[in-house]
Structures are given as C-alpha cells and as structure tokens.
Amino acid sequence: MFLSLPCLLFVFLFIVYPLFRNVHLSLNSYNPLKSPETRFAGLENYAWLIREPAFFNSLLITVAFTAVSVTLELLLGFTISYLLSRIKEGILARLSAPLTSSFLIPWVIPGISAAVAWRFLYHPSFGLINALLGRQVMWISNPTLALFSVVVADVWKTTPFFVFILLAGLLSIPPEQYEAAKVDGVSAWKELWYITIPSILPLMLVTTGFRAIDAFTKIFDLVYVLTAGGPGKATEVLPLLIYKTALKYFRFGTAAAISVVAILISFVFGAMLLRARRAQ
C-alpha cells in the first residue's frame, strides 16, 4: 500500500482532480467578460448543448472523422504490417529493417509540421497533388471534400501506430501454427483468416479502441492548421469547438460541459472495447 502511494498521488493529481474540477466547472457559469463571479448554473450548460446546433454539428463531424479515420488506419496498418511480416527472403529481406523503420517517419513528424506540409500539398493552385492530377480540386475548400482531406492527412500520420503494434503481434505468432497449416495444405487466404487474424484480434481490438478514443478527443492540430474548422463549420471537430468556446468566447462552463460529454463518449468507446475483449 505504502509503495503504491506515489502512483496513487500521481493519478489523483493529474487525472482525478482535473476531472473533478472540470465536472465542477461544467455545473457553473463563468464568463469573465460578463461578470468576474462564478455562478452555480446546475445543468444549464448541458441544456444549452442540447439546444445548440453547433454542438451537434461538431459531434457528428467528430464521430464521422473517428469512424472513417480509424477504420482506414486499421485496414491499411494491418495490410502493411502483414506484408512486412511476410518478408523472409530475397532483396526485400535485407531491406526489411530500413523499410520497416521508414514507416515510422509520418509518426515522428510533429503534428503541426505535418499539417503545414499537407496544407501546401492541398493548395488548389500551387499544391503538388493538383499538379500531379492535372486538375484543380478544392481539397480543403469544398465543404464535402474538406473532412475527407483531413482524414487522409490523419491516416498518413497515424497508420504507423497500427503498423508497429500489429507487426509486433504478427511476429509473435508461433511459427509452428503456419508450419502445421502448410503440412495440411492450407491456402494463404485461409491461413490469414483462421490463424493470423484470430491470433492478433485481441491486439487489434485494443489498438483500435485506444486509437478511437485518441481520434475522438485529440484531433485538433491537423484541423486547426488545415481548415480551422471550415469552410463554414464543415470540419469543426469537438476539440476545436471546446477550444473556441473556452479560449475565444471565454465561456468556460460551457466548454467544460462539452468536454465532459466528450469524455463520457470516450468512456463508452472504452467500455465497448472491454466488452468485446471479454466476449473474444
């Protein structure tokens, strides 16, 4: 008990207390531009959220972003890690270490730098993507395409997270299973479906769950630089709305309420993940 005190203190100071303060703030009204006093507001801030179209717009956009982004990252990440795990001979085997390491590059580039680079790539007149396509596509100016463009940039940035975790899982599958399958004349497709995927399914679930929570609650820097939430409100994700509500509109109670809702939704993701793990 005594030895776990530092850990408990850390959890209390950096997780429990801020969470408590946030919930407390969400039940109060504090707008320093209107009044220096904090007033108890009860569920007023939450009632405002229910009536506010901007909140539902942000929520919908963030859910859509999370669903599409994480799904693409999982599929792409698994495909890449599977192919990397199969490199056993030939010239590619000699290059497998640098090849694998090269997938780390998008992950280690700071988010803001990546966002600025993608902004240049997406430029309608001077961007490389349109230059290669020979067309002027409005990647971040068209309200329909803008969110898709953010997803593409995010998938590029975060797929390595899946690649490396799933690769570790794939490489730890006992080779005897594949040898036995070979002896039985099992096809590569059946190997994948009956041996590989079931072996790493728990890892896939955990990784997807973590990434979903991450995408839902932390997508900010990419959107802020690429589109600033526009055009209009087409890409105004929840973290951006929280930022604007707190630090631009100075409606701290309302911002806290939005963030509490975001945390609760994240808890739901986490609970679903645990349930899936238990069922698996």
Partner: protein, 416 residues
Amino acid sequence: MKKAIVIFLALLLVAAFGAFAAPNALRILHVAGPELDHLIANLKDFESAFNAKVSIDQTTREAMAERTMRELIEQRGDYDVVLSLAGDDYTTFVYKGNYIPIEKYLSKQEVQQYWGRKVITDPRTGLLAGIPQYHNSEMLFYRKDLLQDPKEQAAFKKKYGRDLKVPKTPKELYEVAEFFTRPPNLYGYMVGGLEWSWWCDYQYFLFGQGQNVGDKNGNLTLNTPGAVKAMDYLAKIVKFNPHGWESQSFFDADAMMKAGKIFAYQNWSYIWKDFVTTMPDKIGIAAPVGDVEPGVYLSGWLALIPAKAENPELAVKFLKWIGGFDYQKKIALDMLGNLPSRSDVLKNAEVRKAIPGVDQFERTMSYGHVARTTWKAEMSSALYDAFFRVVKGEMSAKDALDQLQNVKFAGRKAIE
C-alpha cells in the same frame, strides 16, 4: 565539478532574482511579430533614458486574447504594460478592462494628437485608455498597370458605359472585379475564407455601409438594412475569387497579388512596403470602398497599464515614450505601411516623403472603426457560418441576419 555547478546555479538564481527585484523593472506582454521586433530593437533608448530594465513576454496571436483577459479582467498582476490588444479587442478591453487610463498623465494637446482616439476612449470615464504602438487599417490594393492600360479602359467603357477608374463603392468594385475575372490566370477580387481573415473583410463592407455590429447604446444591430447590404455584397463578390479561397487568408491573397493572379483585394496596410519595394509599377493603393464612407477597420497594438501593475509610474513613462514623437517617427519610417498613431508625425515632411500614397492613407484616418461588441469571437463565428449559408444559397442575407438577431442572439446586447 559538482561545486562548480552549484556555484553556477546559485549565481543564476541571484541574477534572476536581481533582475526581477530591480526597482526600475518593467514587464510587458506583447505579441510575436515585426512590431515586437521593432520595439525590442529600440528598447535601449527607453532603458537608458529611464535607467530601466524591461522584460517582454511574447504571446502568439492565437493566445493573445486569453492572456490579455487574464491580465485586464482577472487582474493577475503579471505585467505592467499589456501591448497585446488589436482592433478586434479594443472594445472588449477598453470598455471592460481594469486599467489606468493614460489620459490622466497627458496634456490636452497630447491627447488630441492620437487620431484613432475615438475607438480607444473608455466610455465609462471619457478618458483615452492607452497608447497605440502604431495604427494600421486596410486599404484597397489593385493592379494599377491593368487599370491604366488603354485597351482595358476602352473595353471596360464599352461594356459598362463608364470610365475604368479606382472603385469607390461596392457596386463599382463588383463591376471592376467582374471585368477582370479571367480564369485561370486572373481573378477580379479575393476574400480570405478562413474565419479570422473573413471577419476583416466583413468589417470592411459593414463599416462601408456606415454600420456596426452594435450601436452607440450597446444594442445589437446585426440585421440593419445596411448590414444586410454589406453581407449581400460580400456574398456576391466571392464569385470572382480564385478557387480555394474558402480555406485561405489575406496572407494567401498577398501571395496571389504578388503572383499577378488577382486584380484587387482589401487588406491591412503592412503589405504596402512589400508592394512598394518589389512591384512599384504594378500595384496601386486607395481608400477602402463604401457606399456611405470608406469602410475602414482600425487596428494596431494598443498599450494599456493594468490596474494591478507593480510599477505603474514606469509604465506611464513607457507609454509616453512609445507614444512620443521620436518613437512614432521611427516606426513610421521603419515600418512602411504601419501609420504613426500621432497626427503631428504624419504631418512631418520626412515621414510624408517616405510614405508613397500618404494622401490615400489620410483619406481613411477620420473613418476608423472597430467592432462595437464585447463578445466578438462568438459573434464572428455565427456571422461566418451565416455567410457560408448565404453563399451556398441556403438563405438570403436578410434571413440569415434576421435569424441571428432575432433567434440565436435574441435578448443579447452587443456590449454585455
């Protein structure tokens, strides 16, 4: 080795404490950028004149409103001078901030020199709140080489039945923009579509109709006939924008103008120095357009002394120095495009000679406005959303602004 490190750390601690404990220490909050660089380059004049030690905290533009709020509203007492107020925030902090008005320490003649004083006077006391490090406003920048081309003039006259000249009204601007829209190489006009950039353009058109988001009594005036007209003009002129404007800003417009891709746009005057030095034969400058008056949005970093400043006497001296003739002349000469905040500096022969188009700047000086609201960020976000609905044809400008005035912001005042 250990002993050396301990002694070094101890000396560092003493030096740091010494700096902060210095009786003539001044702590300033400013915004990163060329104006701060200019201040830092000239600070030694102030420090040697008053035997002072100045420390400056830089903030980014994204964080400046929040940090200013902490100092002027929540009264944290971290700074003696807050220099992080732009035109966007003048109303909020001049009307609601807790600060020491500088007018108490100036003569009447000195106060009269600050030509932008109508937007930086505290209505609670009637006193000048602070001193602007400089002023800037937007101007209309246009391709004067194309405007003066005889072939273009003849073609324009044939199409519109009038002479091709520098537009003064939104209607004239619309016709000129339409005439010079020749995709993909040239577009008639550009509005930056990112919210913080779009807000500037909205203000230009709004002020040009003699309107504001709030009236003199602090009532919300989002849907006056003039405001509807302004929104309408803005929503219509974007069809002459280059592709991709929705995700671009006035900085992108600067680049497009330099690349010869747009005919005209309205932007802050900082860019004038670039045009004068790199493209003097191509770019002209004029007062912004407006049906009622030139739509002039006034800005410039404003220095205020927080009520909880630890060294208010030195802060007053600093404001007098930064607003004094010498520094104001320096900034006018060094930073072409930013105007001095003093009228007497602008009358100086050397300064007038150094500013090409100074007569155009002078046309704008008496018209400078800022948004008359204390909740600009929330308001601009809603107006921005409404604007895009109008552009997409989902609703008319009148319906969009009526919805904001009568439904979304029903019961609210512009000054709260």
